[in-house]
Symmetry: C2
Subunit: 203 residues, 2 copies
């Protein structure tokens, strides 16, 4: 009679990873340390995650609050809810402890992956869904939503990791307002007129 | 007769630091390694920089292009020039190699410093100067310029360090456009009306 498959292994390993990140930092959160803390054999960890980076990424991936996000069509309200969940993910002690180490890893390895390989640890799809659900005219079609997401991602990262921004500790609502400004349609005569002085020749 | 003070020490140490960051990474760029590469005694380094973090920060501080920045008053042109110089600073191989390590250091030490202590390594003053030099009406007084700088800082950091953003490799002009959108005055009836549904009660 074979032992029933232990379905709590994933859960225990991911919880142990978050605890260790917070307590001992990224470098010391090794597969061995997770194995000991979760009481899961290292071989069982490696069957599920090819590397500790994969395990850490999985432990930090967007929370259920983001993954199960259903836009209501109210752009401001949806973005506020999204931004809160996203900032909470980035701002957790485990994420703050892990992100510089992950960034160093990506930097030193080149970390080339396909778009699909990044998706499980990105909140980009949920952000794009919110914009798609917004009423006609609420988002300027001249703006690339992916560009806005890149800026939003950087803004949330800076709020968690860059000391001068962390110390300012501005309400998340200020970031939301700036995101809405990036998306808002602009009157035809708005401030783009001085963008390319050379265009004056064609006027 | 005393030896004349060697005025090239700073220069050699800073250049050696940038080379080492690029070649061997942040962790291996120690005071000892810089001392050997620059042929400067370690004690001479410690007289100038209290720690290797201070030395690395100094080597990476905003380039001359940013530090000597003189706004012309043309907001778009000034911001474009600023953004190019700032992104070049962040995007250099040495900066890409060092930033995750510096962020990890700030994270693990708490890194509490006064605003003044951060200024030498920040481009914030130059950004604020540009907005101050812009013509009346070009920047929405309802927007906090420091908030916009925080978002811009995050956007530039993401362009250099976050693989999904690095791989998209979007023209810097797209970031400039989004920064201009954040700053632009909005017509009175713009998309802020749905910001606080509760306000409807007072209408």
């Amino acid at each position: 009679m074979s032992r029933p498959r232990d379905t709590t292994i994933d859960e225990r390993a991911l919880a142990a990873t978050l605890e260790l990140l917070e307590e001992v930092g990224f470098e010391a959160t090794t597969m061995q340390a997770v194995s000991a803390r979760a009481d899961v054999h290292a071989s069982a960890l490696y069957r599920r995650w090819p590397s500790r980076v994969a395990l850490v990424e999985d432990a930090l991936s967007p929370t259920v609050a983001i993954a199960s996000f259903e836009p209501t069509g109210d752009l401001t309200r949806d973005l506020r809810r999204f931004l809160r969940a996203y900032a909470a993910t980035w701002g957790s002690p485990a994420a703050r402890a892990a992100m510089p180490g992950l960034l160093a890893h990506y930097q030193s390895t080149g970390a080339v992956r396909s778009e699909e390989e990044w998706l499980p640890i990105s909140a980009r799809p949920q952000f794009l869904d919110i914009l798609r659900a917004a009423p006609e005219g609420a988002v300027d079609p001249a703006v690339d939503p992916d560009d806005v997401f890149d800026v939003l991602l950087g803004a949330v990262m800076a709020r968690s990791l860059v000391p001068t921004v962390v110390e300012r500790d501005r309400p998340l609502e200020r970031t939301l307002e700036l995101v809405l400004r990036m998306l808002a349609p602009r009157p035809a005569t708005a401030a783009r007129t001085d963008r390319r002085p050379a265009d004056a020749d064609h006027a």
